[in-house]
Subunit: 91 residues, 7 copies
């Protein structure tokens, strides 16, 4: 299977579908002005001199609705976004 | 319960509802051009090299109406915002 | 009474009402393209690494009409603004 | 009389009226795309770490039409502008 | 044959046509808000003091739909883009 | 005669009229998307820490059509512009 | 003949006409979203502290359609552009 290595301060994130998103106790309200989405970090870039990477594989993250670029790999959807578009990790 | 850890120079804030907001003596006028809101800091990020964190858990804060991104956790609403969107602390 | 501590390079200013503003000899013309307003500094932030605070409590200041965010505390109106939005002090 | 002390890299300028402005040999053309205006520096700020003050009291200056903020002090009009909005000094 | 040497932090990329793009397991969804494209790096610039080059010849890359400038060389199409427009490498 | 001393990284330029502009062999095409103009440097500022002055009095320069601010001195038109708006010198 | 010396990080480029542009094997497609053009570097500036010059006289270059400012010298058209507007050199 092809492997995607994000460049610079980007991360590859596998989104968690809305149905699953209420399981862990976090519900994204429908009327939020900018709804955050939830996903799992699959791969991280090497960072830049301005942005060291703090995210790592398997981190669960919240990110803005318009963050990053969607791609499809082996039939699954992923998003490549900059680390600075990630709002928080969920533990 | 899931725990949200804000990234970089962000803070997780629990808003204080409008009804409660007159108790401490602070009333936000309805005709203000940009009304600040009030909340309690729940969690803070680790900061960045440009922005060290001065806010800490339990701080009461004022922030702009359009600051940050709303999320819902275990049925409660929170806002994730950058520390620079926080106007002041209340003591 | 609640105490507001401005964050970073912000100051808390108590505006001086228009009626009082001609007493000290300073009149703001009605046809000015951007009318400055006058107030008294109530509290100052700790500054940032880019902006050290030069204003201090009790300073009388002139500031632009659209500077900062209005709040109401114990029935009085205040404005929280960045120090860089303050045009001048009055002595 | 109240004294105005400009903040940071700002200067307080007393404009020279149009009628007087042809006396020194400098006429501002009516069809210029952005007409500079002429005035006298009354007070200067302390500068910033990025902008040291080179202007001083009594300097005659040319500045852009939209520079700064008008104020009125003891019945006279002044303009508070950033030093970087001053185009030139006149000797 | 003429050889193109990208300047600064640019790379010369030969796009992989859409038909070929499903072979390696990566499919770009039609409804993505900004579809990434895939290509092969043909030549890289020398970088700048702000952007060291991490890409090298023969790297397979994903890049945004609007990245760079198209050119045609000996009947083949190429794109010159900044390294920062490259989202990820594919291994 | 009044003397104008440009501030910071500005230069005072006396434009050369269009009729004269074909004498030296340089013709500005009428259909150029942004026509450069030609003039002579009359005075230069002291520069800034970011922009040292390389232009000097008597330099002939080309500059963009919308560069700077026109002024009139003793009946003659001049332009005050930033050095960075000067495209080239002519020798 | 007048000689043009570009200022700062600018280069003077003599465009190669479209008819000649297919000789060297490089054809600019008509449907490209921003067509690069080809030319020869005639003169280079001295650079700035942020941008050292890597281009030199006689380099053949590709540049964006909207790069720089056209001038006419002794009946020939030239373009003055910033080095950062040059996409690549051709060898």
């Amino acid at each position: 299977m092809a492997k995607i290595q994000p460049l610079a301060d980007r991360v590859l994130v596998k989104p968690i579908e809305a149905e699953e998103r209420t399981v862990g106790g976090i519900i994204i309200p429908d009327n939020a002005k900018e709804k955050p989405l939830r996903g799992t970090v699959i791969a991280v870039g090497n960072g830049t001199k301005d942005e060291a990477m703090v995210l790592k594989e398997h981190d669960e993250v919240l990110y803005g609705k318009y963050a990053g670029t969607e791609i499809e790999l082996d039939g699954e959807k992923f998003i490549i976004m900059r680390q600075s578009d990630v709002l928080a990790t969920i533990k």
